[in-house]
């Protein structure tokens, strides 16, 4: 159910990026898609009532030194969080570039409407 909602958010972003005529709205659509994917990644690692994946002294088996299976089964998966962190940084970079392109295009054409920005054809 949650995954379906997340996918719906993704599709809303895609719809917005494809159909909107305003450049800034296209950028917003792309950002919504990125957030949907980030949300999806976070949900992959989510566990109801999960604990933070930080190993304390109590989580180790006192005899063997191995991590207890109750910790492994109870903790949230930390890998997707690392992925999301990386992907947020990447999307920040591309967002900054996209917005600055929008500003420069506005300076040249005096409009945000992509139907009017059509010097390239063919």
């Amino acid at each position: 159910m949650l995954y379906a909602l997340c996918f719906l958010l993704f599709m809303i972003g895609l719809y917005c990026a494809i159909t909107k005529k305003n450049m800034v709205k296209i950028v917003i659509g792309i950002v919504v898609m990125e957030y949907a994917v980030n949300l999806f990644l976070i949900m992959l690692g989510y566990r109801t009532n999960g604990i933070a994946p930080i190993i304390g002294k109590g989580d180790l088996n006192p005899e063997t030194g191995q991590v207890l299976s109750s910790f492994i089964n109870g903790s949230v998966d930390p890998l997707p969080q690392a992925l999301v962190l990386t992907s947020i940084v990447i999307s920040l970079g591309s967002l900054a570039l996209m917005i600055s392109l929008c500003i420069r295009i506005y300076g040249k054409y005096k409009t945000f409407d992509i139907t009017k920005i059509r010097r390239l054809r063919g």
Binding site: A17, V37, S94, L101, I105, K108, Y109
Partner: protein, 505 residues
């Protein structure tokens, strides 16, 4: 652990961040350093030919850490990337004097090479995504580097479609992680072999195909390429058309389809159809163009179609259980055409840059009779055109011949017919270039122009020599068995990739 693979990523990355320090004053030093970086990468890439190895970053063994994998296919791509990169960088040394902020340009250029080398070497699917984004974002910025109205427009269009493709790929990476519990390609491949494709993985596969086809500008997804590639400065067009779409699109697609998911009948057919559609549509659209660089950009779509067709045909024969000899022949044709196309198309874009720099226009209707004025440009352009069109002594002929033989032997006669037909269309469009740019009457406004010599000519002539000599790669058996055969074998072996990577630690 014998080969220090991170060097391929570290050298351009470190140089890229060093260059902006020099700023305006030290433009010469910056240019020299950037050229040294690309040339040393070329040397390194040639040094690792024929070797293979796995490198665990930070000594964390997989699946815990990230690994870099060098096999035949990666090493072929490394050589091609650094060859084109070196030539384009040499060409930029003179060409980019027209623009301001040369140091920034050079560092973006090197970042693009960093990203491509990373994509080629990465053995981790998320790491591949990160490097892909490094290369893509650098290329978005480089397309709009001129900051003219048209360049910005093309850059925005490219960026929107490129970002959507990247998000598709990230989504697919998430789906794969959710379904297999690993991000390492070898472990994913193992998990898929154990459990088979479920719904989520099939979904991920379709997102991968969509995303990478957008990056490779295969025909239903090609809308951004004819705008983006002509708008960039000429050496960047050469990099984008020559190698970026092939690394980010085709290499990644082939790696995921053959080595991670395993090629099946469906994916083989999808590749063949995408390839054929790109070949035919690209060639038809190119013939009608009057903008020199836009014609070349459409022709890139068409030539990339050949590569995808070769790879798809090989996969299809493998999936059908047909004769592996013909499958590897088709793959050989595809990969050899990839190398040929990189060299000859980047050369064509460099010559277009030389023409544009001398005449100040890209409109072929305003040109003519430049053969006497630009002798080197003319000669190299003719060589490259002949190579792309597949005229016999040049290297492009051999790759197309191999593709035709493979298609006929595998009983895809109609595919062979299409290959020959598209070659004919390609010949027509390059005859048009020759006719309108270099032959005919010299228009009055162009009487005073002269050719820019120096580094630009060196870059063009060395690529032209490669266009002629590349055929030795398939004709001489020892060269073939050291460069192309391992690349083909990496794809033919398919899912054995995982045992190779996990086993060689």
């Amino acid at each position: 652990m014998s080969i220090p693979l991170p060097v391929f990523v570290a050298v351009p990355l470190v140089t890229a961040f060093l260059l902006p320090i020099f700023g305006k004053r030290g433009k010469r030093i910056a240019t020299l350093l950037a050229n040294l970086a690309t040339a040393s990468l070329l040397g390194l890439a040639i040094a690792v030919i024929g070797k293979s190895g796995v490198y665990d970053i930070g000594n964390w063994s997989i699946p815990l850490g990230i690994n870099l994998v060098l096999d035949g296919l990666s090493s072929l791509m490394l050589v091609v990337i650094s060859t084109v990169g070196t030539a384009a960088m040499l060409f930029s040394a003179r060409y980019m004097e027209q623009y301001t902020a040369k140091a920034k340009y050079l560092s973006l250029f090197l970042l693009m090479i960093t990203g491509m080398n990373g994509v080629v070497l990465s053995g981790d699917i998320f790491n591949l995504f990160v490097f892909l984004e490094i290369a893509s974002i650098a290329s978005y910025a480089l397309v709009g580097f001129g900051c003219g109205a048209e360049e910005l427009e093309a850059s925005f269009k490219y960026m929107v479609l490129g970002s959507i493709a990247s998000i598709f790929i990230l989504f697919a990476v998430g789906l794969v992680y959710g379904n297999t519990g690993s991000l390492n390609m070898a472990y994913i491949s193992k998990a898929i072999q154990a459990s088979g494709l479920n719904l989520g993985l099939t979904f991920a596969l379709s997102f991968f195909i969509g995303g990478f086809s957008l990056k490779a500008a295969l025909v239903p997804f090609h809308a951004w390429l004819p705008d983006a590639h002509p708008s960039a400065p000429a050496p960047i067009s050469a990099m984008l058309s020559g190698i970026l779409i092939e690394t980010l699109g085709i290499y990644a697609l082939a790696r995921i389809l053959f080595n991670v998911f395993g090629i099946s009948l469906h994916t083989g057919w999808i590749l063949v159809i995408l390839g054929l559609a790109s070949m035919v549509a690209g060639a038809f659209l190119a013939i009608g163009q009057w903008d020199f660089k836009r014609l070349l950009a459409y022709s890139s779509i068409s030539q990339v179609g050949y590569v995808v067709l070769g790879i798809g045909l090989g996969g299809l024969i493998l999936a059908k259980g047909g004769n592996p000899t013909w499958a590897s022949l088709a793959l050989l044709g595809g990969l050899f055409h990839l190398a040929n196309h990189s060299i000859s198309k980047s050369l064509l874009f460099l010559t277009s840059g030389s023409v544009e720099m001398s005449t100040g226009t890209r409109d072929m209707k305003k040109m003519g009779g430049l053969a006497a004025k630009l002798p080197f440009t003319r000669a190299t352009c003719t060589v490259a055109s002949a190579s792309v069109a597949g005229v016999p002594p040049f290297s492009g002929f051999w790759s197309k011949l191999i593709l035709v033989i493979a298609a006929v032997q595998a009983h895809f006669i109609w595919v062979a017919v299409v290959i020959v037909f598209v070659s004919l269309c390609t010949l027509i469009m390059y005859l048009k270039v020759q006719r309108h740019v270099f032959l005919g009457e010299l228009p009055d406004p162009l009487r005073q122009i002269r050719e820019h010599r120096g580094a630009m000519v060196v870059a063009m002539v060395s690529l032209a020599c490669l266009c002629i000599l590349m055929c030795l790669l398939v004709i001489i058996p020892s060269l073939r068995s050291s460069i192309l055969d391992p690349a083909v074998k990496a794809l033919v072996d398919g899912l054995e990739y995982s045992t190779k990577v996990i086993g060689t630690q």
